[in-house]
Symmetry: C2
Subunit: 547 residues, 2 copies
C-alpha cells in the first residue's frame, strides 16, 4: 500500500541512503527495515454521521455521493508530516462523513446552500496535497463534515489571442498542461505537488512553482476567478488590471476554502518554450550565493528557475544519488581546484526560444562568474530537473524506515535574509537537540525577487518513538510531539524576525495559530468579517486559516 | 488666479489651438475670449460647522488646524471636470468645515479616534488631484467634515540593499523622487498627476504611471504599508511575497480612504537609469498598432513606456503644437510615402543602461517594423516626453474659453479590446450629438499587458451653457448635464462590454454608482463588511467608493 500521492509505492531505501543516514545519525540511524503497511481497507476511522438527503440531492444524487470506507480514508488527510504519521499508524481519529463530487459549479453552489441549511461543514478537496493540514476533515461546531472533491470541474477554454485560459478547479497540474499543450501553450506552474495538485488548490493557497521567477507565482498568473459561496456565486472581471477599489480577486486568492469554493480560474499562459536549459553552478558560500541571486534579480537577469542551496543541503545533495555522479565529480573538481572543503550549489534554468535562452544565459552567467561561481555543466542541472518532483516520494521512503522529513518555508527582504537564515536554522537545531535526536537542517533559496527571497528549510531526523512500536499507533504521540517542537520553534523564530509564516505552503490548520501575529488583530477581525459576509453559517472549512 | 494644480496660470489659448477648434467645431467653436476668473478669496462656500476641541487637540492643536477661507476652498475640490466647472463659477455648494494637517502617523490615528467620537467625517487629502471626485468634502450623515491633509507625513527611509524605500504618504511625486535621487534611485512612477499627487494617493487609488510597463503600476511596487484606522493602526509585513491567506495589502491598496488613512508605504525602487530613449513611430491603423503592442507584450519585449494613439488622436496631436514641428513633417512624409491619409502614432520609451536600452530597443524595433511601423525618430518622442505632464494645464486653458475636456479610461483583454474601443467611442459620440454639440473623441492605448491593455479616451466639446453666462454660476447646470450624459453613456458601454469601470483613475464619487456592476452584490457586501470592521462609526470618506 502506498499513501504517496500517486501510483509509486514506497521504494526500498537504497544502500546509499542508509549509509548516508548512518554517517549523519550514527547509532540513532534507523535499521532500514521498512514498516510493512496494511491495506487501505484496514485503516480505522470513526463511524460516519448521516448526511441529510437534501445535501445529496443538491450535489447531484447518488453518483455524486460516497460514504464508502476507502473514499473516506482517501479524503481524510493531506500530505503534512502529522497526516502521514497518522495514516501510516493505521488509525485515524477523524475522517469526512462522506465524499461529495459535484458535476459542475452550479452543483457546487447548490451543495453549499444545502450544507448551510443542514449544519454540515464543507472541506474543499483538490489534489489532497496540502502540507499544512489544509484538507483536515474538521467539523468545528457543525453536525457533520463532507469532503467536497472538485475532480469533475474540468472546464478548459483557451483564448489564444489574449494568451489566457479559463480552467476548472478540478484539473490536476498535468491535466491542465496536457489541455494547454494541444494549443501549443503552457501554464509553467510546477510546484513540487504538481503531479497531483489542482488549479483550484493552486489559487486557494497562493502556490508558487519552481519556475516562478520566469512564469510568475500562481497568484500572479490569475486574471479572474469564480467562487461558489454558501450565499451564491461571486466572480471577478477577467481584466489585465483594474483600479476599481480593493482587489477582491486578491481576497479570494489564498482564501483556502474558508469563504467558498473556487470553481474556475482564468490564468495567463505562454507558448511552450522551444528550448530549456538547466545547469548547476558552484559558489563559495551562502552569502556569495545570495549576493549573486540579488544581483541577478536587481538587474532584471533572473533565470526562469533559480535555486541556491546552503552548504549543508549542497553536501547532502551531492552525497546522495539525487545530485548525479557527474555533479559529484564536478563538485569535487571545483573544491580541489579552489582548496575548499565546501560550497553552495546553484541551479539556473532558462526557457524560451533558442536565441533568448542563449542570450539570457550568457548575461546571467557573467553575473554568476563575477560573484565567483563556477559552472558545473548541464548534467547536474538536468539531474535536478529530472528529480524535481521526487522529494515527496523520498519522504515516504524515509517515513517507512522511521525518519522524519519535514519542510517549512518563509521569505524576507534581502536585508533581513541572513538573520532569518541563522535564527530559523538555530531554532530548529535547538528543538531537535532538546528532543534528544540528531538531525540534518538544510536550506535553499527557492524564489527570488528584486526586494528579497524565500528560504526553504528541510529537516531530517530519526523519528521519535518509531522503534518502540514499529511506527504503529503508540508511536504517533512521540512523533507528533517531536514535529510540533520543531514547527513551533521555527515559527517563533520566523515571527521574531518579522518574516512571513509561509511563502507558498499556505496556512491550513498547522499555521493558523500564527496568522494573527502576521496580520495583526485588526487584520484578523477584517478577515473574520469577510468570512461572515460570505459564509454566515460558518460551514466553510472550519479550523483552517482563521481558527 | 489659477486653480490648476500648480504655479502656472491659465495660458492664453494660442492662435493654433483656436484655429484647430474652429476647424473641428465650426460655428460652435468658442470665441477664444477667456473668462476672467476671480480671486480665491471671492469663491463662495457654505459657513463652517464648528469642529470639536477634542479633534483639534488630538490632531496636534492650533498648528495642525485651520478653518481659514482659503484653506477650505483649496481643499473643497479635486480636479474632475465637474469640480473645475464649479470652482470656475465662483460658487461651491460644499467645502470642508476645517483642514487638519497632523504632524505624523500617531497624530493621524488620534485625529481619527477623536473624529469617530465626535461624529466628524474625514476626507483624506494628498495632492488633491483626483479626477473622479475622490476628495469631495461629503459629510454623509455626520455632523461635520474635515479635510485631513497629509502634507506633513514626509518620512523617507531607504534600504539600498533590498532596493526598497519606506515613504510617508504626504510626499508629492517630485519630493519622493528628489529624496530617492540622493541615493541614485528612482521610483519610476510618473502618472500625469505626478507633479502634485502624493505617495499615499498613489496607493489609495491604485495609480498607474506612464512608464508602468517598465517600472510597474504603483500597486505592483508596494511591498508593505501602514494604515491608520478609527480603531487604530494596521500594517502589513514588508515581504517580497506571502501565502498567508487573502492579501490584506491588496485590500488596503485601492481603499480610497474609506477604511482608513494610508500613512506610510514601502515601495520597490530602482537605480536611476543611465539612459532614456523615447521615440515615435507611425503605423497604418489602430488594429495594426494594437497587434504590434500585443506582440511586444507577449514576447517580453515591452518598452518601459508604450502608447498607441488612434487615428483621431494622432491627427489632433500632429495638428496641434504638442506633437512638435519635426513630428508633423515626419508624419507628412510617412503618409506621402505610403499614399495614405491617416495613421496611428506610437510612443516607445526605453530606460536603463546604454547597452540594455540599445539591445531592447533593437529587438522591439524589429517587432514594430514587422507590423509595418515606420520610425519618426527621436525628436517626436522627446517632444512627447517634454509635454507629458502638460495635459491638465491645457485642460485649464480650454475650460477658460468654454471647452469641455474630459478623460476616462478602462481596460480589457486583447480579445475584447476592439469591441470595447468601438462601443465606448460610439456611446460618447452619441451622447455628445444628443446634447447638441459637435465633439472630438480620441483614444489611446496607455498601459499594455500580456493579456490585454487599457484604453484612455479624451473627449473635447464646446461647453454647453458657457456663452450664456460666461461660465458663471448659471452655466454649471448645463455643463454638468452635458458631462454627465457623456460619462454615463461611456460607463454603460464599458460595463456592457464586461470591461472595468476604471483602469487607474479609481472610483471616487463619480464611479461609485457603477462599482456594484463590476464586483457584484456579494462583492459589495464584502467590501461593506470590511469597512464596518475598520470604521464602525462610518466617518471615513463618506460617499466615495461604496456609496
Amino acid at each position: 500500500m502506498s499513501f504517496a500521492p500517486g501510483p509509486r509505492r514506497d521504494r526500498t531505501a537504497s544502500d546509499g541512503l542508509l549509509a548516508l543516514l548512518r554517517n549523519e545519525f550514527g547509532e540513532a540511524a534507523p535499521s532500514g527495515q521498512p514498516r510493512v503497511l496494511g491495506e487501505l481497507e484496514q485503516v480505522q476511522i470513526p463511524a460516519a454521521e448521516p448526511i441529510a438527503a437534501t445535501v445529496i440531492e443538491a450535489a447531484g444524487g447518488s453518483e455524486a455521493f460516497s460514504d464508502a470506507h476507502e473514499d473516506r480514508v482517501r479524503h481524510a488527510t493531506g500530505r503534512s508530516y502529522p497526516d502521514l504519521v497518522r495514516l501510516r499508524s493505521g488509525v485515524l481519529d477523524q475522517a469526512p462523513d462522506a465524499v461529495i463530487t459535484p458535476a459542475g459549479p452550479e452543483a457546487v453552489a447548490a451543495t453549499l446552500r444545502a450544507c448551510a441549511a443542514s449544519d454540515v461543514a464543507v472541506v474543499p478537496f483538490g489534489g489532497g496535497t496540502s502540507v499544512v493540514g489544509g484538507v483536515a476533515p474538521l467539523r468545528g461546531r457543525r453536525q457533520a463534515v463532507i469532503s467536497l472533491d472538485l475532480a469533475r470541474l474540468q472546464r478548459v477554454e483557451v483564448d489564444r489571442h489574449s494568451l489566457t485560459a479559463r480552467l476548472g478547479a478540478g484539473l490536476r497540474g498535468p491535466e491542465a498542461e496536457a489541455a494547454l499543450a494541444a494549443d501549443g501553450l503552457t501554464l509553467g506552474h510546477f510546484p513540487q505537488s504538481y503531479q497531483y495538485a489542482t488549479i483550484g488548490g493552486f489559487a486557494a493557497t497562493r502556490s508558487a512553482g519552481q519556475a516562478s521567477s520566469g512564469y510568475g507565482r500562481f497568484d500572479d498568473l490569475v486574471t479572474g476567478l469564480s467562487m461558489q459561496t454558501p450565499l451564491g456565486p461571486v466572480a471577478t472581471l477577467e481584466s489585465p488590471h483594474s483600479a476599481a477599489g480593493p482587489a477582491l480577486r486578491q481576497l479570494y486568492l489564498g482564501s483556502e476554502g474558508v469563504l467558498g469554493v473556487i470553481s474556475e480560474v482564468t490564468v495567463r499562459v505562454r507558448p511552450v518554450p522551444a528550448r530549456r536549459r538547466y545547469e548547476a553552478w558552484m559558489i563559495a558560500d551562502f552569502e556569495a550565493g545570495r549576493e549573486a541571486c540579488r544581483a541577478l534579480a536587481q538587474s532584471d537577469l533572473l533565470p526562469d528557475v533559480l535555486r541556491l542551496s546552503d552548504p549543508e543541503e549542497t553536501r547532502i545533495a551531492l552525497a546522495s544519488s539525487t545530485g548525479g555522479g557527474l555533479a559529484r565529480r564536478a563538485f569535487s573538481a571545483y573544491l580541489g581546484l579552489r582548496g575548499r572543503r565546501s560550497g553552495c550549489m546553484v541551479i539556473a534554468g532558462f526557457e524560451g526560444s533558442g536565441e533568448r535562452v542563449a542570450d539570457r544565459r550568457a548575461r546571467a552567467a557573467r553575473v554568476l562568474r563575477s560573484h565567483g561561481a563556477a559552472a558545473l555543466g548541464k548534467a547536474a542541472g538536468v539531474a535536478w530537473e529530472r528529480g524535481r518532483f521526487d522529494a515527496p516520494y523520498l519522504r515516504d521512503t524515509l517515513l517507512s524506515i522511521g525518519v522524519m522529513a519535514e519542510t517549512l518555508e518563509t521569505a524576507h527582504t534581502w536585508s533581513g535574509l541572513q538573520n532569518l537564515y541563522e535564527e530559523v536554522g538555530a531554532a530548529i537545531r535547538r528543538a531537535l537537540s532538546d528532543s534528544g535526536t540528531p538531525g540534518l537542517v538544510m536550506c535553499h533559496v527557492s524564489h527570488v525577487y528584486r526586494d528579497g527571497a524565500s528560504l526553504y528549510f528541510t529537516v531530517i531526523a530519526p523519528q521519535l518513538g518509531f522503534e518502540a512500536d514499529d511506527g504503529g499507533a503508540a508511536a504517533i504521540g512521540p512523533a507528533i510531539g517531536q514535529w510540533s517542537a520543531v514547527k513551533s520553534a521555527a515559527a517563533a523564530a520566523i515571527l521574531a524576525c518579522g518574516a512571513t509564516i509561509t511563502h507558498h505552503h499556505a496556512v491550513g490548520s498547522d499555521h493558523s495559530p500564527y496568522l494573527s501575529a502576521e496580520v495583526g488583530d485588526r487584520g484578523m477581525s477584517a478577515l473574520r468579517a469577510l468570512k461572515a459576509s460570505f459564509d454566515p453559517a460558518g460551514i466553510m472549512n472550519p479550523g483552517k486559516l482563521l481558527s
